[in-house]
Symmetry: C2
Subunit: 409 residues, 2 copies
Amino acid sequence: MIKINENFKKMKPNYLFSNIAKKVAKYQEENPDKKIIKMGIGDVTRPLPKVCTQAMKKAADELENAETFRGYGPEQGYDFLREKILENEYKDLGIDKDEIFISDGAKCDCGNIVDIFAKNNKIAITDPVYPVYLDTNIMAGRTGICKDNGMYENVIYIPMTEENNFVPLLPKEVPDIIYLCFPNNPTGTVLTKDELKVWVDYARKNKSIILFDAAYCAFIEEENIPKSIYEIEGAKDVAIEFKSYSKTAGFTGVRCAYVVIPKTVKGYDENGNVEDLNSMWNRRVCTKFNGVSYIVQRAAEAIYTKEGMKEVKDNINYYKENAKIILETLKECGIKAYGGKNSPYIWLKVPNSGKSWDFFDTLLEKVNIVGTPGEGFGPSGEGYFRLTAFNTKENTIEAMERLKNFLSK
Amino acid sequence: MIKINENFKKMKPNYLFSNIAKKVAKYQEENPDKKIIKMGIGDVTRPLPKVCTQAMKKAADELENAETFRGYGPEQGYDFLREKILENEYKDLGIDKDEIFISDGAKCDCGNIVDIFAKNNKIAITDPVYPVYLDTNIMAGRTGICKDNGMYENVIYIPMTEENNFVPLLPKEVPDIIYLCFPNNPTGTVLTKDELKVWVDYARKNKSIILFDAAYCAFIEEENIPKSIYEIEGAKDVAIEFKSYSKTAGFTGVRCAYVVIPKTVKGYDENGNVEDLNSMWNRRVCTKFNGVSYIVQRAAEAIYTKEGMKEVKDNINYYKENAKIILETLKECGIKAYGGKNSPYIWLKVPNSGKSWDFFDTLLEKVNIVGTPGEGFGPSGEGYFRLTAFNTKENTIEAMERLKNFLSK
């Protein structure tokens, strides 16, 4: 008899963004004349750099001719892209080409990486958190059930709130796997090099691993904020890093990302023997994956041309300008807000100590703005609300005007 | 302390095709003047249909402009593609759009599907077999260790050899998960509708599930051979089907496939309650995947145009012509061979009861042809050897000439 993975039952019935999409669709259906401005899901709106689409078309031409046709590529990704990443993202950080694995998305990487770890590792997540880290571990059986307070058994929650200025404190109980995401999703806050070093040292001391999500690193503008965890001394022994082209070059629908696993990062078997995680991941990739689409890898390669870099920078600046508009409006309205400086995300305190889903409903129904309720990111997200800077400038301005008018009533 | 997934240690040290690639690279390095003809890995050589590359370019244009730009698509795939699949592949088979999930490859699907099943399901695989079915279950802890006879503990092996005419017999012990692939990889043999119905009835009776890999269905030319398992009465209650564009439209480097999970296919929880696998897979897809590249899905959609269908048919016929050439040559040489009729794979008996890796070395070194040793597909593959029809016609003819000359010496 075919038996299901019982861990799926531990998951809350619906995925955050599906819930939001349903609420929005229902409201729009009932109010077809309303113009809803979406500042909820972290999807981009700027088109692809031209140099990327040109590269795609050139690749399509290659695939159309028998002489230049390419079939299966390397599961780990083509060298032409891995080399560009090395040169542009990891210069002087001592990373090797074989330590970079190209994938079809950071979501997939963050979800799949847990395959190489034993079930009995204890995970730590910051709270609030990007739901994928937790959900994939629930599915893998690494947690207990969800308690009444919204927290899962056997998971270490590390609060990130106003009270600690969004700098996660070292937990009392030592975790085996530590998820960190900076610039943070959803709060938009960052860690300085010194603050991140505290975690690297802690992981080294305890033989823990840090899964570092750097998907938003391109938004960093301040000197003292690390764009890669490998800028921190000792990180190469204890950290795996995830990066993506989604939020930089607008690849959310194109699908390309990569994960870095230094050969010096080790795991341990049940007898305490050291094991090489880079080799294990390589084995996983070769067994369960067949590489990223050739045309997509060529498009990603083109990001690293002079024109590509310029267009990416322009896009980022465009979104940052939006973030600034949002931050300023919130300040004017007397709403406390965080992030939005080295990040496309603004994390605001719901006015009058309100609940985040109530605020969601109010914004949707009274102002026709969609944001993301903080509670959807974890118990410590309650009372907060996420807005993203990824809409157009025009829409961002309009949304903020509406908000200002509504709040001044 | 970070603990590794110990199951990885149970895997044999190297993946079959990496081993072959290394041997070939070494030989070529030592013999740079030799022209090696590759008939080993199942990669295609015909370029993409023009209508597909045109669709890619059009999609690239859309992504270049803010008005037509698309970000995140539905995790399950775009409706435009799901509807085409329904219309062209599942007409009159009673499949619903929501039962089709677009992915970036059948290898990924076959590997990922096991996430929704409990660890304590017992799997059955035919022997020889496509290594991914077994390897992904080893990683997931569903097997014991590899025994001296090359078989893994806690796995039901179903031999497919000359002795049973490559028709798998029902096993004595009842499996929970049954992997079937027809037209078969590696043997190239097929099952008739009646022969497949035996398995569907067996799965229904025992509440087992059949994971049916139909990646090669486009090669079927005989009426009585099912192109989809859903042609068999009752299959919609017990079968999940995998299909791919890799071997039909030459998408091995483009990456697009799909899995069909009828809502009527059920699993059971530990109390014997019925659970809906379609919903579970949907949850898995939404949590760990972000959809296939938009341009790739547009290219796949174009396969179903009149020109696309014609080009695919031409490609298939091209490969089938190669298969015929191989089969005829082997017959002339007095070598027993199977498959190659409804399939791009030819499964030959190694002459003089030889070992398959010895034959690999002989072919590589004496005839400069690369094939795949049967032993790499499982213990019952020993003594057999796989050749594929995916090379060019010119190379196939040349390879067969060489073989003929060598064997007549």
